[in-house]
Symmetry: C2
Subunit: 295 residues, 2 copies
């Protein structure tokens, strides 16, 4: 059966088309999930060649607004950051919803809470766990990266396993010429998803970091333009260093090495009643392609 | 100025969606070329993440049907194979042309002649030049590829510079596990675009080859799903071996190692009046995404 389904390609973490990270979103809310096979969804995602393609379905949990299935060209993911922000934007537009402030997304990790404020959508990280790494692994990364770290790096389990490596400042981060093949060897041996490089930028407006995400996948590695789970990893890492006891906002810029100019609004939120910490990542997004896809 | 332009993503060298090679096509025929900048077009192509994104403009040469500009994520190309087939398909659909048999495309290499027959569109190669390579380079490729060649390989200048390497049979071609990083080193040192691997398949219906295209680009290399200029290179190479004095059809299958199933109709056409040889490459194509893009 041929299905013609509503389609959008959303640019995420930017208000300016082509400056953020794209995600392809297929609206399957008017069909049943059983009308399509996982193989079919995977073949769409393999073909778009985007880091992620998502499919909106009717939720199976009654408290949720939609169910999201997320695919890379190679496999299905339980969660991903920029696809979540972009898919929520697409959902609001497909359904012509203009006044939402809170959205619940059903996906592989369970329920993800999203908040909508003007043109910005943020999600609360479902997972942000710190994992220690050995001294020898830290040294291997240091050799592959080629500049010293300013705090002992460690691994953040955010869905993807990001090795977070802080350098002196934003310019050092931006100017670093990385050998992706060397870096991939270290990541592969350690079974890490990739490396988050970040350096602080002096700003009168608060805490600001330049970030880069080096993502390894089977056969290759690439620099991800603007990375939601990477931002979660950076926020979680900053909390291990600073141990904030009050909520702080962290503005993250990313993508200038790959012709983008992404802006991520990060927030380390401390609940004053019990000290519980949550990690919030969001930003603007804009629909660039609007149409239909034939499955 | 925001421009909303008609957009299609066409799957090329297949009649089945998601089994060919995609190209994104933007219809700029109702605006002036001066309404957009090269930078803008490049930023679209950088963002789609497809091997090529194309832009249809009004032709400047009166004998042509349209002018095509072709961009990879990194730069503009004078010509490319599957984008030409896919862009012609998009042109016919945008203009609702149903009875065309011949189309002239204006592009960086000049005028490219296309023929339309049912759902198939073919182009005549504007360039297919043979270039000899040194013995030591052949040996470097052999080491990187890891299986023997059946005829001395050589370089085909088709726009991209393809090193064509024939192996025993279709299965050998399909089953070969390539180390793309090693292969990229040899290609980079020789300033070649990549490697075309091909092996013949026994077929009652004529000449048939399984083909694979290993494309190197700055920072990485990838296996191209179904490759038009690669098919030109293979046809030209076969002509150096067999020196056909009559027209032959060559059916090329490609993409099964990267979840596709492409079919290319190749033809080495010998003009009986003067023996002149031309190389024709075509196949089916299908519009998978139809809509608008905001520039």
């Amino acid at each position: 059966m041929t299905l013609n389904l509503p389609f959008k390609q959303i640019d995420v973490f930017t208000a300016t088309p082509f400056k953020g990270n794209p995600v392809a979103v297929v609206n399957c809310m008017d069909v049943e999930e059983s009308d399509v096979t996982t193989e079919q969804l995977q073949s769409v995602a393999n073909w778009t060649n985007l880091s992620e393609t998502t499919f909106l379905f009717k939720p199976t949990l009654k408290e949720c607004d939609y169910k999201l299935r997320i695919f890379t060209p190679a496999n299905e993911l339980p969660f991903a950051g920029h696809p979540t922000v972009g898919s929520c934007r697409a959902y609001l537009q497909f359904k012509n919803i203009k006044n939402a402030t809170a959205i619940k997304q059903e996906c592989g990790v369970g329920i993800v809470d999203l908040s909508v404020e003007g043109d910005k959508i943020s999600f609360v990280a479902a997972r942000a766990d710190v994992e220690e790494v050995s001294d020898s692994l830290v040294e291997s990364y240091k050799t592959a990266i080629g500049v010293p770290y300013v705090n002992r790096p460690s691994l953040m389990q955010t869905g993807p396993a990001w090795f977070v490596y802080l350098v002196d400042d934003a310019d050092t981060c931006l100017n670093l010429n990385l050998n992706l093949a060397n870096l991939k060897q270290v990541c592969d041996a350690a079974q890490h998803s990739g490396v988050i490089l970040a350096g602080p930028r002096k700003s009168a407006e608060g805490i600001e970091y330049e970030m880069r995400a080096l993502f390894t996948v089977p056969d290759t590695s690439f620099e991800d333009p603007v990375c939601g789970s990477g931002a979660v990893a950076l926020l979680r890492y900053l909390q291990t260093i600073h141990n904030y006891d009050e909520t702080v906002n962290v503005h993250i810029t990313q993508g200038r090495r790959v012709h983008r100019n992404g802006h991520i609004n990060g927030c380390i939120k401390v609940d004053p009643s019990n000290g519980a910490v949550s990690y919030h990542v969001g930003g603007s997004s804009v629909a660039v392609i609007n149409g239909e896809i034939t499955l």
